[in-house]
Symmetry: none
Subunit: 160 residues, 2 copies
DNA sequence: CTCAAAATCACCCTTTCGGGTGACGCGCGA
DNA sequence: TCGCGCGTCACCCGAAAGGGTGATTTTGAG
């Protein structure tokens, strides 16, 4: 990566040098301008890099991680929902998105990390069926990938 | 890689074009040398800062201060944690699984529902690299699919 | 300095996903 | 009885993901 940067830096330098050369033919004068520009550019490049380094150098994440010591009451979760027992999917959003019960099942299975084939076996249907459900689901969720679908569904409170 | 080459090529071209343009203006309007210098300075400052940021992106020195653990009864939800702003991944489990910081980054991106390509662009690396990281990650998590990896990581308290 | 871990990238090959299309049956309400 | 939503299934094809191997570079610890 750095090599690439250096390479292009040198390339740029060579190009600029070429430009200078060409210009030289026409404007024998005005050399100071080029030199001036180049110097300024170099200077501020270095300055910029230094700034960048400085700004990120202090970006040290001081994380004081403490593992749970005692467990009292397991508080709910980030998502809203009062939630009684296991989990209650947001019916409103479910309906407003037009997601059917079967599709929700597929969604949960997907979130569980199962492949289409595994889901098919688990639900006693063909893999093609799972794929159709999944496709419709993705469409309704505006998701392009199953991971994205999971993410979106989670945000929408459809799954835990 | 090709994209990177093209990108840098275009960037270089644009920069040179800009320089030329500014020069031209300067030559035509015998005006402020300061503007020219300022523009060049600004341009290269931004470039430098960007470079600096890019070269040192995940400059984090993690200070792990483990507190003796008593019990750990993470029953219901993956990682309650409650309040506490962003989220602190379980460093202990992270280490015990041998997951590197970079791999954790990839994991988070995967959980975010991004494709390998998107992750590659977002982290300024090639898609192959992302795939390598992902592969190692799946191996360490004993996951066969990315959705499963997300699920397992969530259970392990590695991600929110 | 040397060594190892981490990160990066490439290539090949197989499997899995996802999109698109079309089709069939069932139950329910108009 | 018809239409419709839902669930079911199939096939094709391109894209994405995943497995395996090998390689280089960077960086930090000893």
């Amino acid at each position: 990566m750095k090599k690439t940067v250096i390479f292009y830096g040198l390339l740029g330098g060579v190009l600029i040098a070429l430009l200078k050369l060409v210009e030289f033919r026409f404007l024998v004068l005005e050399h100071s301008l080029e030199i001036y520009g180049g110097l300024v550019a170099l200077l501020f490049s270095v300055l910029g890099i230094w700034l960048g380094l400085k700004l990120t150098r202090t970006r040290e994440t001081v994380i004081v991680r403490e593992v749970p010591v005692l467990v009292e009451v397991q508080v709910p979760m980030p998502a809203p929902v009062s939630a009684a027992g296991p989990f209650a999917p947001n019916r409103a959003r479910l309906e407003q998105l037009g997601i059917t019960p079967r599709e929700l099942e597929i969604l949960e299975a997907i979130a569980g990390g199962f492949s289409n084939r595994e889901i098919a076996e688990r639900l006693f249907v063909s893999e093609n069926t799972v794929k159709t459900h999944a496709a419709r689901l993705f469409d309704k969720l505006s998701a392009k990938r199953r991971t994205q679908a999971v993410q979106l569904a989670k945000e929408a409170g459809l799954i835990p």
